[in-house]
């Protein structure tokens, strides 16, 4: 939850909601870009950027080398797998209908 995970912005999805598609360790997910855009870096400039993603929000632009080094340590401590599992759980939660109990 707190460590975040590096990913690369591959597509802008929604300029009003400031959403982009980010490739995180091979998995693509919609991510909010509000905290990495500003007057000097518009949302259209974000494609190709490496960012540190925390719970679905890009919080910092990083360079590619930093992204790779960070991914390495996150892999070592099991956080990459944990983040990807959390993303899958989130996808499932959004697709579930009705009052699911134990599932």
């Amino acid at each position: 939850m707190c460590l975040g995970i590096p990913g690369q912005i591959v597509e802008i999805r929604d300029t009003v909601r400031q959403l982009g598609l980010v490739d995180v360790a091979g998995v693509r997910r919609e991510v909010n870009l509000a905290c990495v855009v500003g007057d000097d870096h518009r949302i259209a400039d974000c494609i190709g950027d490496w960012v540190l993603v925390h719970v679905g929000f890009a919080m910092s632009r990083i360079d590619e080398e930093e992204a790779r080094a960070t991914l390495k340590i996150l892999e070592d401590i099991g956080e990459v797998q944990e983040s990807l599992a959390a993303m899958r759980a989130g996808d499932e939660a959004m697709q579930t209908n009705g009052t699911g109990g134990a599932s």
């Binding site: 939850m1 460590l3 909010n32 925390h54 910092s60 990083i62 340590i73 939660a93 959004m94 134990a102």
Partner: protein
């Protein structure tokens, strides 16, 4: 030094350990007692255990594992509140997976889900908002948890809900804030700390300035640190260098991620949506003034505490559990009476055993149990 070979750059790791030893030799006080450096952030705790960083340090340096794991400091009463909200008819309760197994006084969220409550693990508060969008006949509550790192994400989610006019969404706000907590640690009479490793990603949001009081008022060095083992070693060396030179300053080892002024967009979102609470209850540490935030009146309709009946009972931690002393650095995890016996990652009694960022779970997983006692080199 068997661990060093696992480092990305073993030669650099050896050089940093050499530097640490050089600084330690310059410091008079550590000839009579070990220097205590607290890593505030649970992410650092996890990295320190994984890479065996404590074992690489001279006996004159001790690491104290701080309270920077939001799941670990969540009081039992708040878990009970989550369960009560989740069991309210018509509610879909959404949470980060980390919180599912934290024990409440009667049950955890995991058990409440097994009992039939609609509890869903999400990756992002935006997932929770999407669930609200597609379930207009349900009330969707998001369990907001974490320090300043995750606070902007919940703030921006509420602003998004407001922009879209979504009204069946609310936040059970348990966000906590690092500065008052560090203030409480610094002013506590039973704590003897010589310096701090500052959190990386919290600092990425808040910047360097909020820590200044630690240097100015409490005369302790703080170095904002990255998470790579080389970052941690480098930051420890920087703290020791300050001590050796009689300095107490805020330094930033992680400037490649942490801008001096933090992230201004994130800060703006936080201050639009949240305000400080008078106090907030922490597991093991008790009540700390101004250490939590709540939703401002302007967004009251997104506040689950105002929208629903929340029991808000104060529940004491289990008597056998010594999480509080471990959190304050007074007790090593393996010296707790229930560590590894009644309390394991599979059946945690205390929250420090639940999260991989908790000191007890880290000790359990990576086993620091063979370490010789300080002063007995064999």
């Amino acid at each position: 030094m068997k661990y060093v070979d696992e480092f990305r750059d073993p030669a650099k790791a050896r050089a940093l350990i050499g530097e640490i030893n050089v600084q330690v030799a310059r410091i008079e006080t550590c000839k009579s007692r070990p220097l205590a450096i607290m890593e505030v952030c649970g992410g650092h705790t996890h990295a320190i255990f994984k890479y065996g960083i404590e074992q690489m340090l001279p006996d004159a340096v001790e690491l104290v594992h701080g309270p920077g794991c939001p799941v670990c400091v969540l009081p039992m009463g708040r878990v009970d509140d989550c369960v009560a909200l989740a069991e309210t008819p018509g509610v879909i309760f959404t949470t980060f997976g980390d919180a599912m197994r934290v024990p409440g006084s009667k049950k955890s969220l995991m058990q409440a889900k097994a009992d039939g409550a609609d509890i869903r693990m999400v990756y992002s508060p935006l997932d929770a908002l999407a669930i609200a969008r597609s379930n207009p006949d349900k009330e969707v509550i998001f369990f907001g948890l974490g320090f300043e790192t995750t606070m902007p994400s919940t703030a921006l989610t509420i602003l998004q809900a407001e922009a879209e006019g979504i009204r069946n969404f609310s936040l059970f706000c348990n966000h906590i804030t690092i500065i008052p907590t560090m203030e409480a640690i610094c002013s506590s009479p039973d704590l003897k700390l010589d310096g701090f490793l500052g959190p990386g990603h919290v600092s990425m949001v808040i910047g360097e300035a909020p820590y200044r009081f630690i240097a100015e008022r409490y005369k302790r060095p703080l170095v904002i640190s990255g998470f790579e083992p080389l970052d941690v070693l480098h930051s420890i060396a920087m703290v020791l260098k300050q001590i050796a030179e009689g300095r107490a300053e805020i330094e930033n080892q992680y400037s490649r991620i942490v801008p001096k002024n933090g992230n201004e967009q994130a800060q703006a979102a936080i201050s639009r949506v949240f305000e400080l609470r008078e106090f907030f209850e922490w597991r093991g540490l008790g009540s700390i003034d101004h250490s939590g935030v709540r939703i401002r009146d302007a967004y009251a309709h997104y506040d689950a505490e105002r929208k629903f009946a929340v029991p808000a009972l104060k529940i004491a931690d289990p008597a056998a559990c010594q999480c509080g002393d471990v959190l304050k650095g007074l007790l090593k995890p393996q010296d707790c009476k229930v560590f590894g016996r009644a309390c394991t990652p599979e059946t945690p009694l205390g929250a420090l055993m639940v999260s991989s960022e908790g000191a007890c779970a880290a000790y359990y997983q990576y086993g620091d149990l063979d370490r010789e006692p300080v002063g007995e080199d064999a």
